[in-house]
Amino acid sequence: MSAQAQPNSFRTGPDERGHFGQFGGRFVAETLMPNILELEKAYNEAKNDPAFHADMEYFSKHYIGRPSPLYFAERMTEHLREVSTASGLSGGAKIYFKREELNHTGAHKVNNVLGQILLARRMGKKRIIAETGAGQHGVATATLCARFGLECIVYMGAVDVERQKPNVFRMNMLGAKVVPVQSGTRTLKDAMNEALRDWVTNVADTFYCIGTVAGPHPYPAMVRDFQCVIGEETRKQMMEAEGRLPDSLVACIGGGSNAIGLFHPFLDDTGVEIYGVEAAGHGLDKLHAASLTGGRPGVLHGNRTYLLMNHDGQIDDAHSISAGLDYPGIGPEHAWLHEMGRVTYISATDEEALEAFQLCARLEGILPALEPSHALAKVVELAPQKPKDHLMVVNISGRGDKDLFQIAEHLGNKIA
């Protein structure tokens, strides 16, 4: 869709009311409004404070381990060139992995959590709550809370607690309290409802550390800003490696924070093709989690965005093999970029992600999480169609250790 007038820049949003075009906004209960305004003010102050940036840089380097490498995936490249040749194209893009899985705690989530926890400290908030799906955001939040001596409560759908047991144990070891959420569909969206209910009850001392680029303004913009380090580093690293910008970017999307972090610094480089990969679950005609491909605009969790829902605006169950993508919505900025036609949103099924996971493990010696395995599944499709001098970057947003039990089960080998 590109019917709408193109803006001069894709990087100036949101407006002062938190809108990206028709998306975003602040759809929350009155009880939370003063908190959200307080957060916005505190974030704007921090953004302009060199001391805040100095803290971010220090902990990014020494605690998270940034910058994460931009790695030339040589064997994956060779393999997909063979695929290209076999199909008579003799092309095959040169593939780079942005190694966010090497961050402390094993995913990109920690970039955002570091920013929010430093902000919570500035604001004097001592009690941190978070929602989590796959558990990566919960683990990152529990980790930073341990580091800074803050109380941490993580809401997690009871279904996700079951399928992401290693991460639940990790959070417990880090001193966080994990609350299994039994309401609704007992997955990520219900965890977010429960976190909002907690926040409404404990407004005075509590900071809600949202894990993705969704929720009421200023969260989508703030979380994006904290994740933009991914794309900023990629830009610099690609210039060093190849002397030019990449030709395409690929990232998976649940709420969309790893994707916007990679994409945003390149949005105005119109020569760079950008692909967001949603979770097609069992298939787009069956249960899935592809909000842009299969949804419509609606209002949930504080913002207007694309949602999976029925005729009456009741939110549908999402499904993905990956708990981190199992959400019936998407960040509002992605909804806008979709309508503007700047980013191409495609989807990968559970099966495609599992295949890409195995391919990556054998060819590169890297176990990606199931979430970026969706992005890899589309790299496998896209790369052979591109010429050999095409530079393609895929964000390996998390590592697969947390998924091993579940993958084993799908492949028919129970691990003891």
């Binding site: 209960a29 009880t31 939370l32 409004m33 409802n193 409404v200 209002v299 829902m309 009741q314 939110i315």
Partner: protein, 279 residues
């Protein structure tokens, strides 16, 4: 604007008492039972009835109202059917104000203009939409006022004097003071603090101020009625209904009575507090 809300508060003032506002969920546990309950409420002493629009993700509601919404959705309740129930209620009762309360998404998806026209036509008097703060007034509040429906705003303990004028600016009908920072049906408020909060709000508006969240019994209702112009009860009524449902969550012969029995107690509580008639 419809005149029913104003007329009803005038009537209560003339009787020297606070109004009793009751909340039940449309379609819980099935459409016919919820209509029977709605019809029984004014007879049991309710002055204003709130009818909940079910939603899958009620972020400001506690377990009782969450479960009520899911029961209603399970039997296929939707916005079209809810407006139809209001129409049938209105055919028999032309005086009791009906307020629809819920979340924005089902209304947004129905289409704001179409929803307002259909709601007005069905006999709805006002709307309470939890996830629309004044910052989003363009979405529904202003169009609702234009269409002649009261948009009733929630004020909360976190709404300070600086923010109150914005919250009250486009509100109509009455102001709903949320007695606690929290979700519906949770903690019981400190009634002393509630009274001073009501007084604070009344400095800013001539509208009636009603108080809800955490009111469970006739004694609570009486305590709130001391200072407020009205008392809202929701989760307690839904709990009373839930206690009568069978194992499959279906209504039984006791369902309607269980709700009306509690409404009578609440009504007696409200009526036990004599207030000065309005000057």
């Amino acid at each position: 604007m419809t005149k029913r809300i104003e007329a009803r508060f005038e009537q209560c003032r003339a009787e020297g008492r606070a109004a009793l506002v009751t909340y039940v969920m449309a379609g819980d546990p099935d459409p016919e039972t919820s209509l029977a309950i709605l019809k029984s409420l004014p007879k049991a002493g309710a002055d204003i009835v709130e009818f909940g629009l079910p939603f899958t993700d009620p972020m400001a509601d506690g377990p009782a109202i969450q479960a009520a919404g899911l029961r209603a959705l399970k039997v296929g309740q939707d916005t079209v059917k809810t407006l139809d129930l209001v129409r049938r209620f209105r055919a028999e009762d032309q005086d009791t104000p009906v307020i629809l309360m819920g979340y924005f998404n089902p209304i947004f998806v129905y289409g704001v203009d179409r929803f307002l026209a259909d709601a007005r036509q069905a006999g709805v008097d006002g709307l309470i939409v939890v996830d629309l703060p004044p910052e989003e007034d363009d979405e529904l509040c202003l169009p609702a006022l234009q269409a002649g429906l009261a948009f009733i705003r929630l004020a909360t303990p976190t709404t300070d004097d600086k923010r109150l004028p914005a919250v009250l600016a486009n509100t109509a009908g009455f102001v709903y003071y949320v007695s606690i920072t929290g979700i519906t049906g949770a903690a019981t408020p400190d009634f002393g603090k509630v009274a001073s909060a009501v007084e604070r709000i009344k400095h800013h508006t001539p509208l009636p101020v009603v108080v809800g969240f955490g009111v469970k019994s006739g004694a609570h209702a009486a305590a709130v009625a001391q200072g407020a112009d009205g008392v809202v009860v929701g989760s307690a009524l839904i709990d009373a209904l839930k206690g009568t449902l069978d194992e499959q969550g279906r209504a039984t012969s006791r369902s309607v009575d269980a709700v009306t029995t509690l409404v009578k107690e609440l009504s007696e509580g409200v009526r036990s507090v004599a207030k000065r008639t309005a000057a």
